[in-house]
Symmetry: C2
Subunit: 219 residues, 2 copies
């Protein structure tokens, strides 16, 4: 991998991070093409997580009828309806020994090793899920979902997709409307994606960040 | 922004997300050049956050003496010492009305508007920080740090930097050693960055993810 190429790619990426903004109004007529969306899904799938446990399901909502029910449970924000694709980051209701065992099976399958050879790793993870309260584990899983959110927003900007991360929604109502409860899932955070409307005035607003020297500390 | 270009860039990005892995052993002789590192800092600074409040400080540790003290408080993992640059994601001890007021001043400064014109936005954020418990706000701030972690790992991969996200460290000890406590900061998660050692056998291991059809749900 040549440093020159990657530096160039990275400069582009920083430019794209400057280009992105929390989109307030999507053009509901513009849909994301499948070849673009497939790359987004690949990137989501590759998100790193603690222990590699991937305590998440990425729920992609494109059904217009379902989407139309969401603004009233999103502080009346219209983006979940007007966007092309809505990603709901959901965590499992709980994470337990069985989940860890299933993950170990998956490692054994992908790497062509025996599950027995992974016993030390398995014990470490099992001790982790047995040693923490349900509330603590729920929060730990939610944090992992935020890694995926960060990854998604960067990759979306890289392909020129607009996005709007949203914490302002009713998780129980989303879970009910989207049928997540019966699947043992809980919505954590959501991100509508698509293309900005031409008249979204927020697209023109200067990006606000604290001064670099206050945010980054060198020691 | 041409779709063709961005698709190509994105394909590269997905390849780079496949290339990355949680680096167990860094080559301590290889240092990240400043022109590469500057891009990383720009990307960190541009991380999106809820309300745009940026409840974080990114602590970049390169001092060898400080780094040498960290493995013993990191489950004996050597990456914080052997890496080139260690990023400690720290949140403010607390977030309050004064923090919000300071942010409003910053918006007014960057956008050239009066602070008074932002009173509705200010009230919304003030209500948010006054309406939640200290514990809830601490967790909310920590989640924002995980967005930055996700962004960092993706951007690092894009420039060919190796990284290892780590939750396994003693936050109070890091805060003491790095002098964060007296600055009103609390370490949340850390990420050593640099270049993989040639003999890090984990670099060759197949990447393990659950099957796409189990992780991504279309509705």
């Amino acid at each position: 991998m040549s440093t020159q190429n990657t530096l160039t790619c990275e400069s582009q990426l920083v430019d794209k991070l400057r280009w992105r903004y929390a989109t307030k109004k999507f053009d509901s007529n513009k849909k994301i093409k499948s070849e673009v969306w497939n790359q987004i899904e690949e990137a989501l799938l590759l998100t790193p997580s603690s222990f590699g446990l991937q305590p998440w399901t990425f729920v992609v909502v494109t059904n217009p009828e379902l989407k139309s029910k969401l603004p009233q449970f999103s502080w009346n924000q219209q983006q979940p309806q007007e966007c092309s694709h809505l990603v709901v980051f959901a965590r499992p209701d709980k994470i337990d020994e069985a989940y860890v065992a299933n993950y170990i099976e998956r490692i054994a399958e992908v790497r062509g090793v025996s599950a027995d050879s992974l016993s030390t790793y398995k014990k470490m993870m099992t001790d982790f899920v047995k040693g923490a309260t349900e509330e603590k584990l729920a929060e730990w899983m939610s944090r992992q979902c935020y890694i995926a959110l960060g990854n998604l927003m960067t990759v979306a900007a890289a392909v020129g997709l607009d996005a709007c991360p949203m914490e302002g929604f009713s998780s129980p109502d989303y879970d009910r409307i989207l049928g997540l409860t019966e699947k043992g899932l809980r919505s954590v955070v959501v991100c509508p994606l698509g293309y900005r409307a031409e008249d979204d005035k927020y697209a023109q607003a200067a990006k606000v960040r604290f001064p670099k020297e206050k945010v980054i500390l060198h020691i």
